[in-house]
Symmetry: C2
Subunit: 459 residues, 2 copies
């Protein structure tokens, strides 16, 4: 069974018009010509290539950023490459009256805001194959060439369907925040399975941990242990799906099954969350757990810098909780647009007893038995060892965190490096109900997703 | 350094007078003659032997029970042996105007109350060595012969010191309630170490799990994995210390160390417990735990029948608690003289949240994923598997036990067989404070020992 009519309707919505594509191609050609000519006057030997989804006909409507790679010969040293790259980009942007912005990836590049488009000018080395690789961006031109050579126009449309579906069920994007499927990974999946519908069926039924795809039959799959292994056709020593987490891999499988049960067109649309403060408060109250929110500012840095640090901070808070016997039922975090972050920690209980069972040395070990008894005169024997009911350091999580998040103690937590300073500066610890009473309604969707993590996987 | 003066003083208190011993030996001889003569008239071929601590000069004052073993030839069948044994015992008791009582060990025997003594008449087979063993009691005569042959009078006194010390620190007795050191084990320890003082020093410093003693060098120690391994000199295939628990083994070691630090004569006296209701209530309150007592009647049966059943019941209640996430900090039980029993269960907390984390199938398993989702529509993905916050069956231990201790549910607990009926008949579940308000003062020492399990190990 095919659903071509549905897909045709969807493609009408998500595929850029030929006119729009032509406009972008023409703009890119114009910019590349400016660079090439200016480079010639400076005696710099470069080639330019439009890369990215636009160049491969796999860009979704209104998502068409322009990526222009400026390729230098391998004998240029890195300093020169950076310097010439930035200069050529800047020159080009100025020529067309665009606005410059410097950005950083593995090395710095420049972005221009030109005629309503965001155009990245990225310097790289001109390489023939992956063995000549000097930095991660050098691979991009090889990727573009490979997809341009193998992907048919029909298949490019299937990529659009896949990207849109993945976006709607929140599994698209190789950035840290999502840790899902990259655009290039979507293209390779279509090259392997040919149609969107095939991928859905195969993922729903056959995908499992360490599922392997090796388009060029390099035989290098066994080098990897990841949820999904897709060997890069231009580099046998790279798993294109390395950044995909087990979480997003599993969520995609679940979403595929849901979609197979009911081919709703809504799977290609964002699923809105509409929830009121009262509904959220009630849901949390009904869980009857001890749920707290710790909120603090985060530095004004890119998502891929902040998200890992907040995640690391959350894990540190969970670990110290467990060490102190506060059992965690569920946890999560989100970062607001105003650079504040919230870590949600949901505990089984709000208070532990004063005493805890503390295990001591074996009775046969006379020396350590004596030390233990000197320290704990109330120790008693449990089979072959000493135990004692000793006083806990903390009986509530509030006491624990308020004691630990102080200059003297904060190094006992392994926090993200920028987060430590921010938390010492200011943090708030509230029960979820107290927090919700003052919370901005912009946060409601994040809190709703915390309560219903599978919400976006079905329609 | 020796402490002979102390030990002489102690021996004056604990060693039966020669007159007393002579009286017992004469009574035993008289009784054995009656049996032998009566047997002759009946044409039954038997020999008699006084066994037990009296016969070995290792009985403590006022603890001298008389054990007379009636040994039959190996070709008598078991039925005959039982019948003749009971008949001869009964005849003898009647002859001296004693009072009869039938008892059971591995086979039935008869006890007479004669001239203020308790005299056991135990039928057994006359064997030359352990290879001819037909029942456990057959070994007793071999044990008596061995000790009589090897133990000097001086060493017999050392056995008295050891038995008295062990009694005072509550590690003496092979019965289930104590699960400590038997009298025969004490004798073998003295045969190995020669003096009480030596045992104390060696136990304090050198004993460890699987400590081995093999008086006759049989080389069979490695067949056993027990806290202490003492090969029976009359049976290479028996560990005399098999019934000794790790708990009592460790407690004895700890008591030896305490005694070595300070040779107080009080180590040879019972340590009294004097505690008031108010002190007990305060101590429990200060622990701030959730401590309950479940009390019920036990059948009027011997200790070695009841104690294992109550212990099994306690373990069943602990297990079901843990299965339901009620974490136990400490537990214990005791049985009162009026055949009521109390199980103490001390929990970290009194109430669990409504929700608990419930783990489901792997996402890759499509069929079971569907079953799980049908059952729990709110399930969500955690890495490679489904989880859900599902409702707990019980949020308090009171709810749990009151639901389980009902005819419909009680088989979910693995209770001691006689205890099940008793609990269904009647049980009470109270917090320790409520229980203490009505408790008999006879129970205070047991509750005090629960709070201070090491109390008797030091002076």
């Amino acid at each position: 069974m095919r659903y071509d009519t549905i897909y045709d309707d969807i493609l009408k919505e998500i595929k850029p018009s030929p006119k729009n594509r032509e406009e972008i191609i023409m703009l890119a050609d114009k910019l590349m010509n400016i660079i090439l000519e200016h480079a010639k006057t400076l005696n710099i030997e470069v080639t330019c290539k439009l890369v990215g989804s636009v160049s491969k006909k796999t860009s979704l409507v209104n998502k068409a950023d322009i990526d222009i790679f400026i390729a230098f010969p391998l004998d240029y040293d890195e300093e020169k490459l950076k310097e010439y790259g930035l200069h050529l980009g800047k020159y080009c942007i100025d020529e067309v009256n665009g606005k410059c912005e410097k950005k950083y990836a593995s090395h710095p590049y420049i972005t221009g805001h030109i005629d309503g488009y965001e155009v990245d000018f990225v310097p790289c080395y001109k390489i023939k194959d992956a063995s000549q690789l000097k930095s991660a961006v050098d691979r991009t031109i090889l990727h573009t060439n490979y997809v341009q050579k193998h992907l048919t126009d029909k298949e490019a449309d299937e990529v659009l369907l896949l990207k849109k579906f993945m976006t709607s069920v929140n599994t698209y994007g190789a950035n840290y925040k999502v840790s899902g499927f990259s655009g290039y990974l979507c293209e390779l999946l279509i090259l392997h399975y040919h149609t969107f519908e095939n991928i859905i069926k195969e993922a729903a039924n056959k995908w499992h941990n360490e599922f392997k795809i090796d388009l060029e039959n390099y035989g290098t799959c066994s080098n990897y242990h990841d949820p999904l292994i897709v060997i890069d056709p231009v580099d046998p020593n790279r798993n294109v799906a390395a950044a995909l987490t087990m979480q997003k891999f599993s969520e995609f499988i679940a979403a595929c099954r849901n979609y197979l049960n009911n081919h709703k067109i809504e799977y290609f649309m964002d699923k809105k969350i509409e929830v009121s403060k009262e509904e959220l408060i009630n849901e949390f109250k009904n869980r009857n757990t001890h749920c707290i929110i710790i909120s603090f500012n985060v530095p004004k840095r890119p998502d891929d810098v902040i998200y890992p640090q907040v995640n690391k901070t959350m894990n540190a808070l969970k670990k110290i909780s467990q060490l102190n016997d506060f059992k965690i039922l569920k946890s999560g975090y989100y970062i607001n647009k105003d650079y504040t972050s919230c870590i949600i920690l949901e505990y089984e209980i709000s208070k532990l007893p004063v005493l805890k069972l503390h295990h001591g040395p074996l009775v046969k070990d006379r020396k350590n038995s004596q030390h233990f008894l000197d320290k704990y005169p109330d120790a008693y024997i449990s089979n072959e060892k000493w135990v004692v009911l000793s006083k806990r350091e903390y009986t509530t999580v509030e006491d624990m965190f308020n004691d630990l998040i102080r200059k003297e103690n904060i190094n006992k937590l392994k926090l993200g490096k920028n987060i430590k300073e921010e938390m010492l500066n200011q943090y708030s610890l509230k029960t979820i109900t107290d927090y919700l009473n003052d919370a901005d309604s912009e946060e409601y969707p994040d809190l709703y997703m915390y309560l219903h993590p599978s919400y976006k996987l079905s329609r």
